[in-house]
């Protein structure tokens, strides 16, 4: 939006080896991207890179940081604006870079001028001296890399938060240089690839907009059908439309919205209202229990293909074992349904269209179609991957070496645009009835809704049950001791879980995960969405804690 692409601008190695300062905001890196976390720890210890971590919790990596800014949940934007205020006050901005590569600087200045250290401190709860110190570290050490994850995006101001990250880095001239960049750490193994391959309602593969007539015409020619001119529904909108009876059929592959969506009582209601649900999965997930047809799918160790990692690197996945029983790879299943639907006349593509057919014989056949229709993957050929080439998209041709660092000479959109926004408080704030702020995330030993990690014996043994982190002060107030069973309730639902009394969280804040179906945080979370990205505010909800009897 400000730069033009939704991906890490730099590589992991580049940050590990070149950055003079690393600023992590909204990423529990050592638990959620452990190997990147390790590399950052090494950069700090052996290379003397400065490390700043902004996080409401005393997460593991704060122990290694030069500075931990412990801001209140939902105040990232104010914190970032406050840092920019000081950078401008001190003249640490990169004037040449701003003049040559960006636009909108005056608007940025106007907005951040309001965020004096005092005001920023008042909003965020971070002491003035620490904000000053962080700005100084960023100002005096170049290049600097900014890393963020869901702690920035899962807010009603998610998009504004991301833009503020980009603003800060452009202000410092840190975008498009080795050791710099705006680097979202992508969660799932192939969330980057699922986005790249058009698993989004607004874009075809390679981020070609469905509302763009040229892009649409290109895919209409390729696939030999007429395509809708308007965007599709996001997950949250799908569930709302299902509840309203507008969506009749849901087809879900390897996802478990019945634990991962916000406000699960609503999700359950939507799934119950849907006429026909098809699920492809490894296990009988919470979501699969609502299905009409369940297809047994192969795990990634049981199939061939590629994943794209958080730094846009495309890598091979190889088949090591056969799937159990009759389970089949997801692509085989999709192809079988498509072929049957063609036979039933569900659609009649123009037979002359070059990519209309479904007669794939191998994964390489699919790769060729991707190469032909996805400019950023045009040169990502099966042969090059098999030969061990390391390719970061964009790879516009078979001869192109790939693009480890984005925006080195110009941004995808031309000039980088400063879009400044004011701090807006989270959609839900604590009150007398729900006095605590719940923030959610993951832990090292589990993954997402836990479909895989609960079935990995060692991981489950180390972290067998859901825990709620609560500050000793709040615990005392609620009469709760470490290990007590507690009830956590919000306006949307309640869960029973176990208290972990710890100063990892500040007073007024509790933390839990969505790994455990029996105590899924998402019965509590707020489905309020960012207006642009439609991302729910998982990171802030108002809750109440009560002790329950062990028998409950």
């Amino acid at each position: 939006m400000t730069l033009g692409s939704g991906a890490m601008t730099n590589t992991i190695a580049d940050i590990a080896e070149e950055s003079q300062v690393i600023f992590i905001i909204g990423s529990n890196t050592t638990e959620n991207h452990p190997v990147i976390g390790t590399k950052i720890r090494r950069a700090k210890r052996y290379r003397g890179a400065k490390l700043i971590v902004a996080d409401p919790r005393r997460i593991d990596i704060t122990r290694y940081a030069d500075l931990h800014l412990q801001h209140r949940p939902g105040t990232d934007l104010a914190l970032l604006n406050g840092l920019m205020h000081i950078i401008l006050r001190e003249g640490w901005e990169d004037e040449d870079y701003i003049r040559e590569r960006t636009e909108g600087f005056e608007e940025l200045k106007a907005v951040v001028s309001k965020y004096t250290p005092e005001l920023t401190s008042q909003i965020t709860g971070v002491p003035v001296e620490q904000i000053e110190e962080a700005a100084r570290m960023l100002g005096e050490n170049r290049p600097g890399a900014l890393l963020y994850a869901m702690g920035i995006t899962q807010h009603t101001t998610g998009v504004a938060n991301v833009m503020a990250c980009a603003n800060l880095q452009m202000l410092l001239g840190n975008v498009g240089v080795p050791g710099g960049g705006v680097n979202p750490l992508r969660g799932q193994n192939n969330v980057q690839g699922a986005c790249d391959m058009g698993g989004l309602p607004d874009v075809f593969p390679g981020y070609q907009k469905v509302t763009n007539a040229d892009a649409r015409a290109k895919f209409e020619r390729a696939w030999g059908v007429k395509l809708p001119e308007y965007m599709g529904r996001t997950v949250t909108e799908m569930l709302n439309a299902a509840e309203a009876g507008e969506v009749k059929c849901l087809y879900i592959i390897g996802e478990n919205p019945m634990t991962s969506e916000p406000d699960l009582n609503h999700t359950r209601h939507s799934l119950n209202k849907t006429e026909f649900i098809v699920v492809q999965d490894l296990f009988m997930s919470e979501t699969a229990q609502f299905a009409d047809v369940i297809f047994p799918a192969a795990a990634s160790a049981e199939k061939e293909g590629t994943f794209t990692n958080t730094e846009r690197r495309i890598q091979r996945v190889r088949k090591a074992v056969n799937p159990p029983g009759e389970a089949m790879p997801d692509d085989w299943i999709i192809i079988q349904i498509a072929r049957r639907m063609l036979a039933l006349g569900a659609t009649t593509p123009d037979p002359d269209a070059p990519w209309a057919g479904w007669d794939y014989e191998s994964v390489e056949d699919i790769e060729r179609e991707i190469n032909a229709l996805t400019p950023i993957y045009a040169g990502v050929t099966w042969e090059r991957l098999e030969a061990g080439e390391q390719l970061h998209w964009p790879v516009p041709s078979p001869e192109h070496p790939g693009t480890p660092i984005l925006h080195t000479t110009k941004f995808s959109r031309g000039l980088g645009r400063f879009i400044a926004n004011d701090h807006v408080p989270p959609a839900e704030r604590p009150d007398d009835e729900y006095p605590l702020v719940l923030t959610t995330g993951r832990v090292l030993y589990h993954w997402h809704a836990g479909e895989m990690t609960h079935r990995a014996a060692g991981l489950e043994a180390v972290y067998p049950q859901a825990l709620v982190e609560i500050n000793p002060k709040d615990a005392r107030k609620a009469g709760v001791e470490d290990g007590d069973r507690i009830k956590l309730s919000s306006r949307r639902g309640e869960i029973i879980s176990t208290a972990q009394v710890t100063d990892r969280v500040e007073p007024g804040i509790v933390f839990t995960t969505f790994h455990f179906a029996e105590a899924a945080a998402n019965f509590l979370t707020n489905p309020a969405l960012d207006p642009t990205a439609k991302i729910p505010e998982f990171k802030v909800a108002a809750v109440r804690v009560e002790k329950v009897d062990a028998a409950d």
């Binding site: 192939n190 698993g199 969506v247 059929c249 592959i253 991962s260 098809v278 730094e311 349904i337 593509p349």
Partner: protein
């Protein structure tokens, strides 16, 4: 700056700052090592890499001696070879003679050196250690201190690669012992269970606990792949034996991570073989033709899934493994009032692929004809491959005529 020296009568050049060991390696001359690893700082502790250097007093450790201009080195002098043999014999005096059953057999650096130098098992009745085998209750890292050669590679890997500083040596002399933290259990000593120490152990003292007895190097096939957990994109080798993943081993040439792994990548693979895996297509009875259903049930080709079986599979397993296993899902659509063997319209039937695929293709085709593309919503998967996501995107847009495809990118 380049330095020129002579190693084993051969002229060798190396960049300034190289050690004798590195210079020799560049020239293809192998010097035996145990405590050395190219990723770690050198400590010159094991004395295996000793070499003779003209003008130097006594043998020098090649791993810590800087290469100097004009240096003349003999890596196989009688003195060096004798010293190595003596070192190996000393190690064997306090090492179990159980290569036949040792996990590390075939990839043990000590075993290889004993072979190379023709050292035989020393006859002696001196003091030996009798440490408890696998004394640490953690589920991932197997410890047999009797096999520990005190090279300290695990200590340096934990410190220098993982920056976790869990391992250390306690006590002195013969009593020197590898300990975690203040002689604690690993998980109490701040261990992140990455298994880096196992990867760097040259012998069988530290091993992957989940792989004990599952197959040694010569018995497994290694398949290089990309991790299925987070977006870092670590590569590693799945070690496969008899269609089962028995171990994950790190690969030095993995582009993103090298030998680094985290606990999920290293030890989170067993979900692949979990008994809960779905193995047949399931269709609710109401979508099946009744006569066909009865016939297939009667001849045993299809079978009904009981509610208890369906809901309890995961929860039972988790309870066994220490989870509290309390379901928050009592009200799903699938609940039937009478769970006896009777079949309700909502009962899941284990069918065959043809039947299940036809049910879906027919229902999708009818729905599209009746309501159009907006009646569909598809959730792609951040766990699936690019190729699968691509054709799912094509299926959505081309076959169903909608752009309503999304996935958990925001979750």
């Amino acid at each position: 700056m380049t330095i020129n020296l002579i190693i084993n009568n051969q002229p060798v050049s190396a960049p300034e700052g190289s050690t004798v060991l590195e210079a020799a390696k560049r020239a293809g001359i192998e010097i035996p090592t145990l405590c050395h690893h190219p990723d770690l700082t050198d400590i010159g502790a094991c004395r295996m890499c000793v070499v003779s250097i003209d003008g130097a007093r006594g043998l020098q450790t090649a791993c810590t001696t800087p290469a100097r201009e004009g240096m003349v080195v003999d890596t196989m002098s009688d003195e060096a070879v004798a010293s190595r043999k003596f070192t190996l014999e000393m190690l064997l005096t306090d090492h179990p003679n159980d290569c036949m059953t040792c996990e590390a057999n075939g990839q043990c650096e000590l075993q290889d050196l004993v072979y190379d130098y023709g050292v035989s098992w020393p006859e002696h009745s001196g003091k030996r250690h009798h440490y408890e085998i696998d004394p640490d209750p953690n589920p991932f890292i197997f410890i047999d201190r009797n096999k520990c050669i005190l090279c300290g590679r695990c200590i340096r890997a934990c410190e220098e690669i993982q920056n976790r500083d869990v391992w250390n040596f306690a006590h002195r002399g013969f009593e020197t012992k590898l300990v975690a933290g203040a002689d604690q259990f690993l998980l109490d000593a701040g261990c992140e269970s990455c298994g880096q120490c196992v990867t760097y152990c040259p012998v069988g003292a530290l091993w992957d606990k989940m792989s004990i007895g599952k197959g040694r190097l010569s018995q497994v096939e290694k398949v290089r792949t990309t991790c299925s957990y987070c977006g870092v994109g670590c590569n590693f080798d799945l070690n496969v034996r008899n269609n089962e993943i028995v171990r994950v081993t790190a690969a030095a040439d993995a582009p993103v991570n090298g030998l680094s792994l985290c606990v999920k990548g290293h030890y989170g693979y067993d979900y692949v073989h979990h008994p809960d895996r779905l193995t047949r297509p399931l269709v609710r009875a109401k979508w099946l033709d009744d006569a066909t259903l009865q016939e297939n049930l009667a001849r045993g080709a299809w079978e009904a899934v009981s509610e208890a079986e369906k809901r309890n599979a995961l929860l039972t397993w988790r309870r066994q493994h220490g989870g509290n296993g309390q379901s928050q899902f009592p009200n799903s659509q699938s609940q039937i009032p009478n769970p006896k063997s009777s079949i309700s319209p909502e009962t899941f039937i284990r069918t065959d692929w043809d039947t299940a695929l036809d049910v879906v293709a027919r229902k999708f085709t009818e729905t599209k004809k009746q309501y159009g593309g907006d009646a569909f919503a598809l959730m792609a998967s951040a766990k699936c491959t690019n190729e699968e996501n691509y054709i799912f995107n094509k299926f959505t847009r081309q076959m169903l005529a909608t752009h309503s495809i999304d996935h958990c990118a925001r979750l």
